[in-house]
Symmetry: C2
Subunit: 217 residues, 2 copies
């Protein structure tokens, strides 16, 4: 391994170690010592990559956000009706929130308002932008027939998803998350599609949330 690769591997080890410690004891109680131990790296190696716990937290949030955004681009580029794409984005993120330690940790750190000195608005803003664009496409394509404007819908879906995953974490460590996000979309579909198209859309939701395909990114 060349030096850069080695540095990269060490950095990844620290990120996964930190995600593990944060999941077990919470961010507030996590120490750099424990993180180094969980990662299996020396204190020197840890400080070479991160000067503080807050820096690790920011790195986890960034890594979570960039990997989920990359997956989102792949889903959107795969095509399909915009309403279905919105559901698939939610299903994909729900699966990652259960399966991917970095995504789990990154989202927990984003929603814990006590984690960072300045609360993070950009991840929310990126997702709201994506959903507003898809909701506009859905409106233009006649998939939706609703008084709810695309920007208002996006401003609701992203916080609603945030709350659904948070409460699912509290009740079941996110084991029921996919089911809860499916229920969320049963409500949303009733609000945005034409009444005579609701049954068809509920069937689409059923297939999206019953066997969600995690994208390959």
């Amino acid at each position: 391994m060349v030096q850069q690769e080695r540095a990269r591997v060490t950095r990844d080890k620290i990120m996964f170690g930190a995600a593990d410690v944060i999941r077990r004891v919470g961010y507030a109680a996590a120490t750099l010592g424990e993180i180094g131990e969980a990662a299996g790296v020396t204190k020197g190696a840890l400080y070479f990559h991160f000067a503080s716990k807050e820096e690790i937290a920011r790195a986890l949030i960034e890594e979570q956000h960039s990997s989920t955004r990359a997956a989102a681009v792949e889903i959107i580029e795969s095509g399909g009706p915009a309403v279905e794409l919105m559901m698939r984005l939610c299903a994909d993120l729900a699966v990652r929130l259960v399966d991917d330690p970095i995504v789990r940790a990154g989202i927990t750190l984003t929603t814990d308002t006590s984690t960072l000195d300045t609360p993070l608005q950009d991840p929310y803003r990126d997702w709201m932008g994506t959903f507003e664009e898809l909701a506009s496409q859905a409106e233009r394509a006649g998939e939706t027939k609703t008084r709810v404007k695309p920007d208002a819908l996006a401003r609701f879906i992203i916080p609603a998803f945030t709350g659904v995953q948070l409460v699912s974490e509290t009740f079941s460590e996110r084991k029921d998350l996919l089911e809860r996000v499916h229920e969320m979309w049963q409500v949303l579909l009733a609000a945005i599609v034409a009444p005579d198209a609701l049954d068809d859309w509920l069937a689409v939701a059923e297939s999206v949330f019953t066997a969600p395909q995690s994208s390959t990114v």
Copy 2:
């Protein structure tokens, strides 16, 4: 003042002091020393009431929950259509989340999953129970006409509200919360009331969220 009264006043001072410190520096960084200073009480008085920071956090969460639940009972007993009651409960809690330091702190502590060793399910469960009951009433009274079942609606509304207030805290320190909760209900109404009744219900929402009455409790 008799001794019991004095103890009560000191306890309240500590709670408000803690709420203030938590708002400024976050729970993780808050120390008992700072809380005592903000409360204007001696360390001895503080330790007489609370053995640890976690005990203060639990007391804030309990006080927030019992005061908002008492307000909820008052709103429900004032009567009216169940759909309107659900909106008024949300508007009342939104106003308290902006105006009442104990409610602000209590909700922040409830949603910050890193605050306590065991995450709190009971507050969510209480609110879901209340909303399921009201959603059932609304269905029986013919106010709603929807495929969404009362329990599923309640399981979505409470997490959705949780997320909406959290994101509003991140973007505007909850200054836009009432407006965001109003938007949330514009989506929910489109999902649950009959299409030909939607205009009337949107007008009710307008009056509930434009001039919300904080209950007297």
